[in-house]
């Protein structure tokens, strides 16, 4: 148990650092800006209580907001992401399998499931984030382009990370 907490704590700090000091400076043609930090919420264990999940998402969002000078923007998007995560997992994963599948990573759940999971959740998060930031429909086409291109970038980074820490012995 304490190992799970430690790993997630390290993951939290590492992802916030990567997002704030590295990815914040990256934008491809001003269209594609990755928000890679949401991987923390994606990789939380299956059995986490809903209250804790929402609380972590809220704290993560506020931490990113503090660095981005946008109080509430990322927090709201992360909370939505946590909600979508609960729905997605309850639809696609059987409850009985929780004992030997503690975390939704690539090595445990398989590439296809993880790809769908990451793509759907990232699209929801980015769609909400960009539209909340812009907050008008007159620029909807430009905003949608940014949502799609940024999601591709983010999911790409997630898959690379997943394959980087791939442990084949966990695979059944």
């Amino acid at each position: 148990m304490s190992r799970v907490i430690l790993i997630n704590l390290i993951r939290f700090i590492l992802l916030v650092f990567i997002q704030v000091f590295l990815l914040k400076n990256i934008a491809l043609y001003n269209l594609s800006t990755p928000y890679f930090y949401i991987l923390f919420i994606l990789l939380l264990p299956f059995e986490i209580p809903n209250l804790l999940l929402f609380l972590f998402a809220f704290i993560l969002g506020l931490t990113i907001d503090a660095f981005y000078d946008t109080p509430g923007l990322h927090a709201a998007s992360c909370v939505l992401l946590a909600f979508v995560r609960i729905l997605f997992i309850s639809i696609t994963v059987q409850k009985e399998g929780f004992d030997n599948e503690p975390e939704p990573t690539v090595s445990i759940m398989g590439f296809r499931w993880f790809f769908t999971y990451a793509l759907v959740l990232t699209l929801f998060h980015h769609f909400f984030l960009f539209n909340l930031e812009v907050f008008r429909f007159s620029e909807i086409r430009y905003t949608l382009t940014r949502v799609i291109l940024s999601s591709i970038f983010t999911v790409f980074l997630m898959l690379i990370t997943g394959l980087l820490f791939y442990r084949s012995k966990e695979r059944k």
Partner: protein, 277 residues
């Protein structure tokens, strides 16, 4: 009552979602309308300190550009010194000139956090109220206008840069003196801005300099950029010109905070006039 509790616990995810979502949206809306929640921003102690440390590392990467721009500025300032002018009159006397009083003061600051690729971009600089900085001061750098200070803490200040949807600066064409208003364009290009509300009678030229006016926070004549397109949007009662910004915001390292020594007096006077109306 029992049924209600069962209902809530069964769908706890949804209710928790509502609670957290509403609280974060409240924070978001409040901050936007009243600019109140200044405790969560990069001028705060923890985030400000972290940014300052990381920036020390970044600083090494652009030493060459900074040196070049400083040397360039030094050369320009040296050429304005009295000693670099040739005196062609024989009579020479020393006057203690009381005609000139210092109106603008400049405080030097280092940029410790910067963004250029978001919808509303801000920079953080490493001086604050301890150095006498207050909200609303203008910020420039050696190549032109940078932005306006919006938040201050004891050691840091947050600058709303030109690359921000809310920034409006009074600007004019350097040669023709036609006054308009400068803002950032909509497609989030960090190198271009829009000069609007220029009267239709004006005849701007491509490559003409766009500078600040005496109506702004800045000293008049500070460079903003150069006109690069004469017909940005057709059909209005005024001209809209596309301006290539002179400041490369992605390489910003050192900036100057401008203090208008008569600004307070002017504001007070104008406030009095508003009260009388």
């Amino acid at each position: 009552m029992r049924n209600l509790l069962i209902f809530i616990t069964k769908y706890n995810a949804f209710f928790l979602f509502l609670i957290f979502e509403i609280s974060s949206l409240i924070i978001y809306v409040k901050y936007n309308t009243f600019q109140k929640a200044t405790f969560i921003n990069s001028a705060a102690n923890v985030t400000g300190n972290l940014y300052a440390h990381i920036n020390e590392l970044y600083g090494y990467l652009s030493l060459k550009e900074v040196n070049d721009s400083l040397a360039h500025e030094n050369a320009r300032l040296k050429s304005q010194l009295k000693s670099s002018f040739y005196i062609d009159t024989v009579a020479k006397r020393k006057v203690n000139d009381t005609v000139y009083k210092q109106q603008y003061e400049f405080a030097e600051a280092k940029v410790i956090n910067n963004s250029i690729n978001r919808r509303n971009n801000y920079l953080t600089i490493n001086i604050g109220t301890n150095e006498g900085i207050v909200k609303g001061r203008g910020v420039i750098c050696s190549s032109g206008v940078v932005g306006i200070i919006v938040f201050v803490s004891p050691h840091y200040a947050v600058v709303q840069s030109l690359l921000n949807k809310d920034t409006r600066i009074s600007a004019m064409l350097a040669d023709h003196k036609d006054i308009g208003s400068f803002r950032w364009v909509s497609n989030l290009d960090p190198g271009k801005g829009l000069l609007t509300d220029i009267s239709n009678n004006a005849q701007p030229k491509l490559g003409e300099k766009v500078v600040t006016t005496q109506y702004s926070l800045f000293p008049s004549g500070i460079l903003i950029g150069k006109v690069s397109n004469l017909r940005a949007k057709e059909g209005g009662s005024s001209l809209n010109l596309v301006v290539d910004l002179s400041v490369d915001f992605s390489k910003l390292q050192y900036v100057y905070v401008v203090t208008n020594k008569f600004g307070q007096e002017q504001l007070g006077l104008e406030a009095q006039q508003k009260k009388d109306e």
